[in-house]
């Protein structure tokens, strides 16, 4: 029972830390998005709330909390309420397998810097893929339960889009898995140690994965489920107050998640740019853990800034173009990447 | 030591060939090339199967089987059935081309789908593992669902396809559940291991009995045997006529092979365990009951039909009943008889369906028995051929159908199922009525405007080959039987 309580306590503490981090990241991303949009559009963006407008996200959240929660008369109330929770829940659950660093030793005991208590579980990537495929339900159900044609179209679009791009995404990941020989995220990161980033060995896979990630996040240029101009906001048209807030939060949490996955799988994750020995850091020391953590966070933020930059630079795809890209371009490219990787491994390894 | 790949050649050839044909179809859109390549692939299957047939069973048993990990059965019976399936595919292709051109647009998918179905059948014939067996049955069934509904804009076809699909999926569920229970009972999926486990009494009898029962239900559905035969007439009637012949001969033969494969390894094992709910004799008695009911019901229902295609469909149910006798006998002789009857039945039924498809007019016209009246004046050759097939189906010498039934009856009597044989004889006599009735209509009834559908084109080949097959097997059954010297 002792070990059971210990596992529970450890998981609880880690959960608290990760949860706070994700929420903070989401808030920071909201701020970043608005500021960067401002810069790109040659205006200021929010700069009144707090120093440099830093408190703006919190003001936003407060506003959403204070707003009246309106549920349409014809909506399916239960599902209307559950949908945003599913969306947000799935966005958070993915963090269960994301390692923020290698491990630190406390009292001679290895504590891994990730939610999973046993990081040797060899299914990290598969878990992420499974969760993204489940994430469809939140948006689809939101669209359906609102009983509004725009919402429904948005929901259906999102389901079709995510199902289509999942395949290309999975195929791109298979290349990485072949190189590493493991589904575990920690193994994949360790394999990239010393600037052997997968983005260099798998450039095609990286492009496919990046494109598919945009589609999975429902971000521009693939934000067809929202498509303000055609669908008045799509699946979340009928949401207000904190329920809308949850969707809002989930979008940014998803952005952080996707950036984290890209950073882990293709950008070397938490591996330090220089070997730990040159920095004089001991294996398992808290300082090394901190260094790894900071490296990882920097990569995530670089990635998110890229994502925001794309949103404000590239217009939205048309629906048929989206399907064409997914099925006729990305899927064959994914297969080509698979074959190239296999041939490469056979020749060089 | 024979190389494993040589033994697996039929399977590999047809599998790769079928995919190749589909690719070719996508690449060229030239219907000629696709058609002739399909024929070449099937010929390759037949020839390679004939080549593997020459190896003795003892030699094959010693061959290295590391690649297939013993999931595949080589040579012998499977090779014989490969040849039957290749023949079925060829006859169907010859008959279907003209039929498709006339009744519908010629669509190449038809040829590739026939090839894919043959892949499924070959997999069944070669399976030495329950997984392979299930995959083969499933591959064949899925292709059949599509082929049944191939004429998408016809109501009958859609109804048949939907019915077949829904019921067939349930049957596959039964099959799979049965396989799971058998695996749970014996701890192996390899059939030869399973029979060893049973022989040594190292299994759980309740699991095994329930598993076998469920598998029998699933396979009896695919064979269209008695309580599960309801779908068959509708499906055979709704499918394109050239395909119906394929469904109820090759498809039936494949499902029967599946039963043979299971029976050979499981039912023929002497069991010492008393706790065996469904011991070998009980299981065989149940199968005998199914067989008897199938023949009687099939023939009685066929009596009432006015439509030739429907009549053939019901009679095919009855023929499944006859063939089941060979499995009931559960002896080497019985399995030989099954293979022989499958071959004969292939020729006569595909030939008959080819003629029906040829006479059939657009929009399913010209299909009543009364439409066939006085066929001898407009199409004497067709009428003669049809008469041959009908006589053979009824089991009258010198046609192949007679010896097919003879071998089955002998096998059943030898293993003590005299009553079943008597029922089979009675059922055959009932069937005479409608088989001979059609001949009488064609030759002795007058028709004011007898049907005239023009000259025979490609169907000629199918009919001619079928006639040759039916007569050759009737005159020299020993030639075909000679093939079996190598089996088992």
């Amino acid at each position: 029972m002792d070990s059971f309580l210990y596992i529970l306590a450890l998981a609880g503490i880690k959960l608290g830390i990760v949860f706070t981090l994700v929420l903070l990241a989401a808030a920071a991303l909201v701020y970043l998005e608005r500021r960067i949009a401002g810069i790109i559009q040659d205006r200021l963006g929010p700069n009144r709330t707090g120093p440099f407008g830093l408190l703006q996200p919190f003001a936003d959240v407060t506003k959403l909390l204070m707003k009246e929660d309106i549920v349409p008369e014809a909506a399916n109330k239960k599902i209307h309420g559950i949908a945003p929770i599913i969306t947000l829940g799935v966005a958070f659950v993915v963090y269960a397998v994301i390692p923020f660093g290698d491990y630190i030793l406390i009292n001679g005991e290895k504590i891994y810097m990730g939610l999973a208590t046993a990081p040797d579980i060899n299914i990290g990537i598969l878990f992420i893929l499974a969760m993204t495929s489940v994430g469809i339900y939140g948006i689809t159900l939101a669209g359906w339960s609102s009983n509004n044609k725009y919402s429904l179209i948005g929901g259906l679009r999102s389901a079709a889009q995510m199902v289509s791009y999942e395949i290309a995404m999975g195929l791109a990941l298979v290349g990485v898995v072949m190189l590493t020989g493991s589904f575990g995220l920690s193994d994949i990161v360790r394999h990239q140690d010393g600037w052997l980033w997968n983005i260099f060995t798998q450039p095609l896979g990286f492009i496919i994965f990046l494109t598919a990630s945009f589609a999975e996040m429902n971000r521009t240029p693939f934000d067809l489920p929202e498509a303000d101009a055609e669908l008045v906001g799509g699946y979340n048209t009928e949401y207000s107050g904190m329920k809308f807030g949850m969707f809002f939060l989930a979008e940014y949490a998803n952005m952080a998640t996707s950036s984290a996955i890209i950073a882990l799988v293709y950008l070397g994750g938490w591996t330090l740019p220089v070997p730990a020995e040159t920095l004089g850091l001991e294996d398992g020391s808290v300082l090394l853990g901190l260094a790894q953590f900071v490296t990882f966070i920097v990569k995530i933020f670089a990635m998110t800034i890229f994502i925001i930059w794309v949103r404000w630079s590239i217009p939205r795809f048309r629906y048929d173009q989206l399907m064409h890209l997914g099925w006729k371009i990305l899927l064959p490219l994914g297969l080509i990447n698979l074959v190239l990787t296999a041939v490469g491994i056979k020749i060089f390894a | 030591m024979i190389n494993e790949f040589i033994l697996a050649l039929p399977l590999l050839l047809i599998a790769i060939g079928s995919i190749l044909v589909l690719m070719l179809d996508a690449a060229t859109r030239n219907k000629q090339i696709v058609y002739y390549t399909s024929i070449l692939v099937l010929l390759g299957l037949g020839i390679s199967a004939g080549y593997t047939l020459q190896f003795d069973v003892a030699i094959i048993a010693q061959a290295d089987k590391t690649i297939s990990a013993n999931t595949i059965f080589y040579g012998g019976m499977s090779a014989v059935f490969d040849i039957i399936f290749a023949m079925g595919g060829l006859l169907t292709l010859f008959a279907s081309r003209e039929y498709l051109q006339r009744n519908y647009k010629e669509i190449n998918e038809c040829y590739s789908l026939v090839l894919l179905a043959v892949v499924g059948m070959v997999v069944i014939a070669h399976s030495n593992s329950l997984i392979m067996l299930f995959l083969g049955v499933e591959l064949m069934s899925i292709v059949f669902y599509i082929l049944t509904g191939f004429f998408r804009n016809r109501e009958h076809a859609l109804e048949a396809a939907l019915k077949y699909f829904i019921l067939g999926s349930f049957a596959s569920g039964f099959l799979l559940y049965g396989i799971a229970l058998i695996y749970g009972s014996t701890g192996s999926l390899i059939l030869s291991d399973i029979s060893q486990q049973i022989a040594s009494g190292n299994y759980n009898s309740i699991y095994l009995s329930i598993g076998l029962g469920l598998m029998t239900v699933g396979l009896c559905f695919k064979v269209a045997a008695f309580p599960f035969h309801q779908w068959a007439p509708d499906v055979y009637y709704g499918s394109p006529t050239a395909i119906s012949g394929f469904l109820c001969t090759s498809g039936k033969a494949a499902a029967l092979v599946a039963l043979v494969v299971v029976a050979k390894n499981v039912l023929s094992v002497e069991t010492s365990n008393v706790n065996y709910l469904l011991e070998s004799t009980t299981a065989r008695n149940i199968l005998a009951g199914i067989s008897a009911c199938t023949m009687i019901i099939g023939n009685l229902s066929a009596l009432a039909q006015k439509n030739v295609k429907r009549m053939l469909a019901y009679s095919s149910v009855a023929h499944a009943g006859y063939i089941l006798m060979g499995i009931v006998a559960c002896s080497t002789e019985g399995f030989y008889a099954v293979a022989f009857y499958c071959a004969v039945y292939l020729f006569m039924q595909v030939g008959a369906f080819a003629i029906v498809g040829f006479i059939e007019f657009r929009d399913e016209g010209n299909m009543l028995i009364s439409d066939y009246a006085d066929l001898r004046t407009t199409h004497p050759a067709l009428a003669a051929a049809m008469a041959c097939f009908m006589l053979s189906l009824a089991g009258i010498p010198p046609f192949g159908g007679f010896f097919g039934k003879y071998f089955l009856f002998v096998a059943a009597i030898k293993s003590g199922y005299l009553w079943l044989t008597l029922i089979a004889v009675v059922a055959s006599i009932i069937s005479m009525y409608f088989y001979i009735g059609l001949i009488l209509t064609m030759y002795f009834k007058n028709n004011e405007n007898p049907i005239n559908v023009g000259k025979m084109q490609g169907t000629k080949l199918t009919v001619a080959l079928s006639i040759i097959g039916v007569i050759l097997l009737g005159i020299m059954p020993n030639v075909f039987y000679g093939l079996f010297n190598f089996t088992f």
Partner: protein
Amino acid sequence: MTLEIISFVVFALLAIASALLVITAKHPVVSAMSMIFHFFMLAGLYLTLSAQFIAVMQVMVYAGAIMVLVVFAIMLLNLGDEGKLRSGFNFRKLVAWFLGGALAVQIAVLLSNGALSNTAISEKASELGTAQVIGGELFTNYIYPIEIVGILLFAAIVGAIYMAKKNLPTEE
């Protein structure tokens, strides 16, 4: 050991509860949602058996792909409350009860037969459930079956496209 039992009981109870909800829920969407939940609980049960790969595949394939299609169909058909469709006693229901009862009896017999008495999770289980082992098996002992599965899926795709194609090719 205790952790195993606790998680097993939790997952099993939730799985049964959600399975019941699937058949009792009045609204098809609620049924579908509980089905998805049920698949998650099954995945949890697989995890307690150390079959990680199958657990994730369960979620990915069933909850992530197949149920999406089901939900899709429900939404497009706009299925309403099932309540209207309910009828009183009929023969079909009787048969359904009978078959369900038979299955329950079968399971009870199998359990009492001692077939499942050896419930301890084998030490080997954790070695068998990983992706490496499954992949190794698939591409050595099961190489022929896996190739046949490829052909099977290929045939199914061809069929689906043929059936769904809007315009059949016209020529002549």
